[in-house]
């Protein structure tokens, strides 16, 4: 049971990271209706740029961060200019494919500039159990994970305030509801998009730092973005809350499945069919299958709105 909790908590904490990436998706999706497949590439690019700046110029943490942020903001504006603006009013699927192209482009550029080797990213946080928790609950919880979770939580809170309280945030929501109407009432769509992409760049940077610090900065980071897809399907594409909850669910269930399912299935197969197979590595697809099943049951996601096709 204790092991179960450890796995669960580990999964939830990993889920927070998924949420963080998914958040970037939701932001952009809400404002421009684009499913940004390149979010993963942006995470990768952010982390790599950060490490690269640190290594190359020996910048400290607080020095590299704003610089990288600057790069990400410029990138956001650039994407809006070069990719999004010419594709305005195109079908969603076209935009989606464009972001796939964008993902390739960013991955290529990042590695051309900073090289292809795996980098270590040190945020000064140790990936070690928190002793007090260890002692009191006898649970293994990483200090790093906890901090990451806190950062993610903070970010979500900030974004929630940003969305609900600020003028730009309200404009954003108006844009999400109806582009034409937003244009009609004089909301500067292009600026809004640039802002959103910049904010998404910021979220990508934070996610990149946390993921990079934990797993090393490498190409595999881009796959994290792929994981965000099922998260969004669970949570709904337009819901910040959904991104969080979806991330937690995916994170937790994935870990639990990875730990328990293969042995269960193997045992089952061995017992009933006398087949001996090692089924480890479920993590690779479990989230997608879960999302797939979920899609069939509730296509609009947990927090999404059901759309009626008007004819």
């Amino acid at each position: 049971m204790q092991f179960f909790f450890e796995v669960l908590i580990g999964g939830l904490l990993a889920g927070v990271m998924y949420s963080l990436v998914a958040l970037g998706f939701v932001l952009i999706y809400k404002a421009s209706g684009v499913f940004n497949f390149a979010q993963g590439a942006m995470v990768f690019l952010a982390a790599l740029t950060f490490v690269g700046l640190q290594e190359k110029f020996g910048l400290p943490l607080w020095g590299a961060f704003p610089l990288t942020l600057g790069v990400m903001v410029l990138l956001g504006i650039g994407i809006e200019r070069v990719v999004l603006r010419p594709l305005v009013n195109q079908p969603q699927i076209t935009l989606f494919m464009a972001t796939i192209g964008l993902a390739f482009f960013l991955e290529g550029v990042a590695q051309l500039v900073w090289g292809t080797e795996v980098r270590r990213l040190d945020l000064g946080l140790q990936d070690e159990p928190i002793e007090s928790v260890m002692e009191r609950f006898n649970l293994l919880i990483s200090k790093f994970d906890l901090v990451a979770a806190l950062v993610a939580g903070l970010l979500v809170a900030v974004l929630a305030v940003f969305f609900n309280k600020t003028r730009i945030g309200r404009a954003l929501r108006a844009v999400a509801d109806d582009h034409q109407a937003a244009l009609a009432v004089g909301i500067p769509l292009k600026q809004i998009w640039a802002i959103v992409w910049s904010v998404a760049g910021f979220v990508a940077l934070v996610a990149g730092l946390l993921w990079g610090a934990r797993n090393g900065v490498q190409f595999a980071l881009t796959f994290v973005a792929l994981k965000a897809l099922p998260v969004l399907i669970l949570g709904g594409f337009e819901s910040v809350l959904g991104a969080i909850v979806g991330g937690l669910i995916i994170g937790a269930s994935e870990k639990l499945a990875e730990v328990y399912l293969p042995s269960l299935m193997s045992d089952f197969l061995l017992k009933h069919y006398d087949i001996s197979i090692n089924l480890a590595g479920i993590e690779g697809w479990f989230a997608y299958m879960l999302a797939l099943v979920f899609l069939l049951v509730r296509p609009e996601g947990l927090f999404g709105e059901r759309h009626i096709d008007r004819v």
Binding site: F96, F104, F105, G108, I277, L279, Y288, M289
Partner: protein, 358 residues
Amino acid sequence: MLYRESGQFKTSYAADQQLFPILQDRIGVLTLLAVALVAVPLLASDYWLTAILIPFLVFALAALGLNILTGYAGQLSLGTAAFMAVGAFAAYNFQLRIPGIPILVSFALGGLTSAAVGVLFGLPSLRIKGFYLAVATLAAQFFIPWLLVKVSWFSNNSSSGVITAQPVEILGFVFDTPVRKYLFVLVVVAVMALAAKNMVRSAIGRAWMAVRDMDVAAEVIGIRIMQTKLIAFAVSSFYCGVAGALYAYAYLGSVEPDGFNLDLSFRILFMIIIGGVGSIMGSFLGAAFITLLPIFLDIVLTDGAIWLGLNLPSGTTSMAQLVVFGALIIFFLIVEPLGLARLWQIAKEKLRLWPFPH
């Protein structure tokens, strides 16, 4: 300009609806086929055959499959490679486990197996659209190679799921040299391309496009949406499955499940985006483009570096490839969303109307 159509009139619907109604097109296609069947085997080197022409044809077939699903029926898929894997492994197992089965039959069965799997993963398309569907196909993309690795029965208990294709033999004739393999692939691909062309100009093709363009209207006119989409998944996966089998049997010889990865799926998706969504010819143009581009880039970068006296770090070419692919995708989507096929079509229109611009 090259088209001189005056005087080509049709006195029957059969003539009007033939595959290539314009005389000059018929001449062109026949010439192309003659070149591919006669001149290429005589002139092309083994390198050209094995490293360029065979993969080009195999990828063209896979792109054709994806194009049927995405271009014609409007259902996005990111799992093309997985369906190819199913085809390859199924064909392998049919060959392996049914003694004496003709190779073409096991290819067909491989395709059918892939079609069945395709339908299974296409089921969600009945409820969801667009990139939601991409997730369903991504599930296939991650699940199937995993399954093929983990269940070693599929690879006849080889380590990490590697299979080695049996020799291709038809009626005692062994397709073992590059030229022979090339001809084998060429014939299979040509026949299947013809079949695809026939489908898209028949009722099913119109149903696919109707569902793609305006599903409510399609339903109202009496097209069964569900059936139409599932047939698209089945046919598409069949094509991808056969392409997968060719990939294993005629191109690489031995393959492992992890070779059919997301990257391959993306490559094929890029082929149809660049080549032309919703065009049979586009599949070929895209496949040619994506097959040739890395080779071209490699030459340019390597020679360029030597010429400039630079020492490029390893992996530069593959990174440059990513950048160029990505940029090209965005470029095409913005400038010509219907790809090279559309450019060709425009050029053809121009030639037909020459000297008029429109």
